[in-house]
């Protein structure tokens, strides 16, 4: 490996131990799963809608009926959830394409940093969206007696159940994306620790 000291270092081509290709394929599988889960969460929540007709009052023998509908747009938290999961699904798709085509490109300079940083940003956004939706869903299911907010899930059951399913799949997708992000960041350290002669234990502790 003496000749590489004179050239500009490139990522991954020279140091490609056999372990890294196994990790590569595991990451690809996880990314496919994360893409499917976030896509599923987006679609289920975006198509979540329920309309019900209630009898509001009775005048004599004639019941007064009102039609109420529950849509995901009524709640800003669910709108953020849909947007965040759509963004994450697109990101996972693009990163899959990069992972499959990456062996044909030669990456220099800043390029290998782009994937982990984008992963980090997207994981943050989706985790924020998922947790906001989970707590709004909990408020809708249980209500809050102290604030006089009534629960709505007893009237709109299938809306709540579908929303819950979307939240579960988004949460599992977030978990997978956290694992992918952690592995990407750790792999940068492994790639670059040799070139800059930094000991691996020194840069994170204060």
């Amino acid at each position: 490996m003496a000749s590489e000291g004179r050239e500009k270092p490139e990522v991954g081509h020279d140091q490609a131990p056999a372990v890294s290709t196994k990790v590569d394929s595991i990451i690809k599988v996880l990314r496919v799963l994360a893409f499917l889960l976030t896509l599923d969460a987006t679609l289920v929540m975006a198509l979540n809608k329920q309309t019900k007709t209630f009898t509001v009052a009775t005048i004599g023998t004639v019941p007064l009926r009102a039609t109420l509908s529950a849509k995901f747009q009524h709640t800003p938290a669910f709108v953020f959830f849909v947007v965040a999961n759509a963004n994450a699904a697109l990101h996972n798709l693009l990163m899959l394409a990069v992972a499959f085509a990456g062996s044909k490109l030669s990456l220099k300079g800043f390029a290998p940093l782009v994937v982990p940083v984008l992963d980090l940003v997207n994981v943050a956004i989706v985790s924020g969206g998922a947790s906001a939706a989970v707590f709004m869903g909990q408020l809708g299911r249980n209500g809050n007696s102290h604030a006089r907010w009534n629960k709505i899930c007893d009237k709109f059951e299938s809306y709540c159940n579908r929303g819950g399913a979307a939240m579960i799949s988004s949460l599992v997708g977030v978990l997978l994306m956290i694992i992918i992000c952690a592995v990407s960041i750790v792999r940068i350290r492994n790639h670059y620790a040799g070139y800059n002669k930094l000991p691996l234990n020194s840069s994170v502790l204060p």
């Binding site: 953020f80 909990q138 800059n196 840069s203 994170v204």
Partner: protein, 162 residues
């Protein structure tokens, strides 16, 4: 490890510690009561599960930062600390996101669900919660900068190659 590399990391962790402790204190001391239509309405942070989650996550983050600042720096578990930093940053981010979502319902209500805003009746509670969310936001950003900085200091992009 050189001092110039350690100082920004130490500073960021101290900022995160201070911000998360502030967030806990402000949220825990938030309470207000009002008389509406002859009924006593009292608002405390523990009435709302989201705010309890916020306090819990900030407590975990401050305990973790405190432990990290106290252990000696010649350990070889840098990878594990990086992953834990990432997890704590994501937890902080999720807690502020949930609190903002519930806070919006409290401030503006939700006409479709028939939920009335409560900030008009208990303004001191709402102000305290806003302050706590702001402090939590600072803590989350500080932790993200910690993760980004530890990635950058390994890449060492702007130093001459050895």
């Amino acid at each position: 490890m050189s001092l110039s590399k350690r100082i920004p990391m130490l500073l960021l962790r101290l900022i995160a510690l201070g911000a998360s402790v502030c967030a806990i204190v402000i949220m825990v001391t938030s309470r207000d009561s009002a008389q509406v239509f002859g009924m006593n309405i009292s608002a405390k942070y523990s009435n709302i599960p989201t705010f309890k989650y916020f306090v819990l996550v900030n407590a975990i983050a401050s305990a973790y930062t405190l432990i990290l600042l106290c252990i000696p720096s010649k350990n070889s578990c840098g990878h594990m600390i990086l992953v834990l930093d990432l997890v704590i940053a994501l937890l902080l981010d999720s807690s502020i996101s949930a609190c903002v979502a519930i806070g919006l319902v409290g401030k503006k209500g939700n006409t479709h669900a028939g939920w009335l805003p409560i900030c008009g009746q208990v303004p001191k509670f709402c102000d305290h919660v806003t302050g706590a969310i702001a402090a939590g936001f600072i803590a989350a950003i500080a932790y993200f900068l910690v993760v980004l900085y530890s990635v950058h200091s390994v890449m060492n992009l702007f130093a001459p190659r050895a």
